[in-house]
């Protein structure tokens, strides 16, 4: 049975980006949010350290300094006008959240307090600056709660535990809506809509050790890619330096912002050698590579693949008030008392800089000319504006989702107000139903979990912090085999209600397709920049590679690459030193 709905604006995903867009769109046009989770389960809630805006509440600061740091931190692959716009609008975005009740930590005179964060500096790199607005180490939790609270106040319509499986494009390549699967009943729903905004979050589950939730499987990007739309800059993936050893659970950069340091087996604060000016607060890609290098040179703790994060020298009250949650993570998951012992950490796959290409109004754009797909939008980690370039600075993801969430929600509402209802193709749900039928009735000689284990293992080994031609070409072969095995995956559960096994198998399909683009783009880019490090091509090469990659799916399933220029601005690319 198929149920039909008609909306002006459909938002897919209920994290910060989706909720902020919903608040903007729902006051103007008939809007709904489709989420595969209850909204408050979204992974925005796991963000810890802060959201940067040059409020200047505790020391001198300007949006222009913030923009410079963002562009330099992104290794000059950032589209500069977009970053400048984001850093300007950051201030209003923070104030708006405060007016909606966000419980920011405060200065003694009652203003929003601010703290240091990686890569954020005073006057173009002089020293770390206090720019991150925060609520202890649960800033993302408070953003998610605050936005959800406002959605309740505004009576936003939610379809919770609905999985979006496909995007409907009309014959003239406009957005027509989405196909969704209702987890509770196993029913298919056709959402006919003038506009759709993908805010599905990240795809960190392509890797084995990751800070990402189990549900971060790249649904939005994979769906767009299958419908012939490009994905931008997929080779750039951020490994956060401080994940809990073996588990990948995030320990916020705020720990280093508050004075925590990294030490190797010799007790040396090794970041002094790699980034003499800002040391432990260098951008994440540099710190993660430094940890990799220390381990490779035998200075991992006990000769193993981890180093220590040390906060023993900090005031216990600072730890208790400003980083209580991550301290508790160390106690629970490692049995380590950070007040007395250093915490074992290793880099963890954290954030995809790439995604569905958009402009600053969150419109999905195709090709080097950036032609918008009418009615189609994307915001947040699943999108690529690009404000993060080759490496995102800490806190800028929370900023990205609220700034571009608002812009996208407003633009889609304006579009829907003037656009005609889309003419849908006949049986738009057919492809999605076929996909599910294949998984339910297929040979079932492979288990999704086995294929996923192999994918995550190989992606981590061959497409992680350090990459090379040999590994990437081998990995492309492995991905081919994994796609073949995926064809033979079947599910044991044939029940209709809460068939989470079926949805996990669908998500594995998304992960495989996203991995194809990550590996193809990483293999083609024979230079090193930001989060993409090729040991066989260790230098950044602006002459050849100051371009964004676009990955398209060809008919035969292979990835076709295309490139478009980076939009430069006032900042001339220079060597990135800290």
């Amino acid at each position: 049975m198929t149920t039909y709905h008609t909306y002006d604006a459909v938002i897919v995903g209920a994290g910060g980006a989706g909720l902020r867009a919903a608040l903007a769109a729902s006051s103007r046009v008939k809007t709904c949010v489709i989420s595969k989770l209850y909204p408050t389960r979204s992974h925005t809630g796991a963000a810890q350290g802060g959201m940067c805006a040059a409020l200047g509440n505790v020391e001198e600061d300007y949006p222009e300094w913030h923009a410079f740091d963002t562009i330099k931190g992104g290794d000059y692959l950032v589209d500069q006008p977009a970053a400048i716009l984001m850093c300007r609008e950051a201030i209003d975005a923070v104030i708006e959240l405060e007016h909606w009740g966000f419980p920011f930590n405060r200065t003694p005179d009652g203003k929003i307090d601010q703290r240091r964060f990686g890569g954020h500096t005073r006057n173009h790199g002089e020293a770390p600056v206090r720019r991150a607005c925060y609520a202890a180490d649960r800033t993302g939790h408070m953003i998610l709660q605050t936005l959800y609270q406002q959605c309740i106040r505004n009576d936003v319509r939610f379809f919770n535990e609905f999985y979006v499986l496909d995007l409907i494009l009309t014959d003239d390549r406009r957005c027509g809506g989405v196909i969704a699967y209702e987890l509770a009943t196993g029913e298919i729903h056709v959402f006919r809509s003038k506009s759709v905004l993908f805010a599905t979050g990240g795809f960190g589950k392509i890797f084995k050790v990751t800070s990402n939730a189990h549900t971060l499987t790249g649904d939005g990007p994979a769906i767009c890619y299958r419908r012939g739309l490009p994905l931008e800059d997929m080779e750039f993936f951020q490994f956060h330096p401080t994940g809990i050893y073996k588990m990948g659970i995030l320990i916020s950069e705020a720990v280093r912002g508050e004075g925590g340091i990294l030490i190797n087996s010799e007790g040396e604060r090794f970041m002094e050698r790699y980034a003499p000016t800002i040391k432990d607060l260098a951008p994440r890609d540099m710190v993660s590579r430094a940890i990799y290098q220390e381990i490779k040179e035998g200075r991992g703790i006990d000769g193993k693949d981890y180093v220590y994060l040390d906060v023993r020298h900090l005031d216990p009250e600072v730890i208790e008030k400003k980083i209580p949650d991550v301290t508790e993570f160390a106690r629970i998951y490692l049995g380590v008392e950070p007040l007395r012992e250093p915490v074992p950490i290793q880099p963890t796959a954290h954030y995809g800089m790439g995604g569905i290409p958009t402009n600053v109004d969150a419109q999905v754009v195709v090709g080097p000319e950036e032609t918008p797909v009418p009615g189609l939008y994307s915001v947040g980690e699943c999108a690529c504006v690009s404000v993060h370039g080759a490496n995102r600075l800490g806190t800028n993801s929370l900023l990205d989702i609220v700034v571009f969430g608002r812009r996208g929600g407003e633009h889609m509402a304006e579009y829907a107000q003037q656009a005609d209802g889309p003419e849908l193709p006949e049986h738009p749900e057919r492809a999605a139903v076929e996909e599910l039928r294949g998984l339910l009735q297929g040979p079932g000689t492979e288990f999704a979990a086995d294929v996923r284990d192999e994918l995550q293992e190989q992606m981590s080994d061959l497409c992680g912090i350090i990459r090379n031609e040999e590994g990437l070409s081998k990995l492309q072969g492995i991905l081919g085999e994994l796609h073949e095995r995926y064809e033979r995956v079947g599910v044991q559960d044939h029940g209709r209600g809460f068939n989470t096994e079926l949805m996990e198998a669908v998500e594995l399909g998304f992960l495989l397709d996203v991995s194809d683009t990550v590996v193809a783009a990483a293999r083609t880019r024979d230079e090193s920049r930001g989060g993409h490090y090729r040991e066989d091509h260790p230098l950044r090469e602006d002459d050849r590679w100051l371009v964004h990659s676009l990955s398209y799916r060809d008919e035969d399933g292979s990835v076709r690459m295309e490139y478009k220029d980076v939009v430069l601005g006032p900042y001339i690319p220079m060597e990135r030193k800290y």
Binding site: L37, R41, H494, N499
Partner: protein, 255 residues
Amino acid sequence: MWEEGPPREPGARPRAEAPAPGQIALSMRIRRYRPDIDREAWWQEATVNMEPSDRLLDALHQVKWYLDGSLALRRSCAHGVCGSDAMVINGRNALACKVLVRDVAPKVTIEPIRGLRVLKDLVVDMEPFFAGYRRILPFLINDEEPPERERRQSPAERERYDDTTKCILCAACTTSCPIFWGDDEYIGPAAIVNAHRFIFDSRDEGAAERLDVLADRTGVFRCRTVFNCTEACPRGIKVTKAIQEVKRAIMFDRL
């Protein structure tokens, strides 16, 4: 896409290996109920080999991914911040991702949280829970025109409601409450916690409206200070204390 008639009984995959050195063989008893095929709830027994430092959620995944795909549970972040995987673990409410194997080995019993209808296995109907949350007007109420910059709030004023901002709406507190089990009209601890978060926020002016909701017969005075909620809270919120503060506000302050 779906077959006619009742779905097939899922086939299990044998995976009986001895635990590797350092691993623990964990015997799990899991409460199962699949409305499509089960006439009543039953216990599934499974043994999985785990690292002592693994989460109980990892053990449930071992069952789901490698033994019996039909096991249904909710989970997402896997480190205690999203609130998806509250369950009854050895008789007490907890998040499966915040309990380690070493804390429960060699045997563990896992059931769905109580007081909400079981939809399948460990998945319960959360709608009544969220309906209670919505009743207390969980958003900042202040009709004054806001200033151009932030509203001022002193660190002490901010501290006043800090504890209750931590709530992740996992329902561990509400579904540990014997009053809630016996009376599903009781609004429950989680809704009161979220009311507290706004009632004691110096920027909020909606206290009277919320206290009206909570003073009613489904509100705070049903609480008998059993403290189950405080013990169950995976975020360490002093839930019973928050409820007492709301009771006092109704009786004495009316803020």
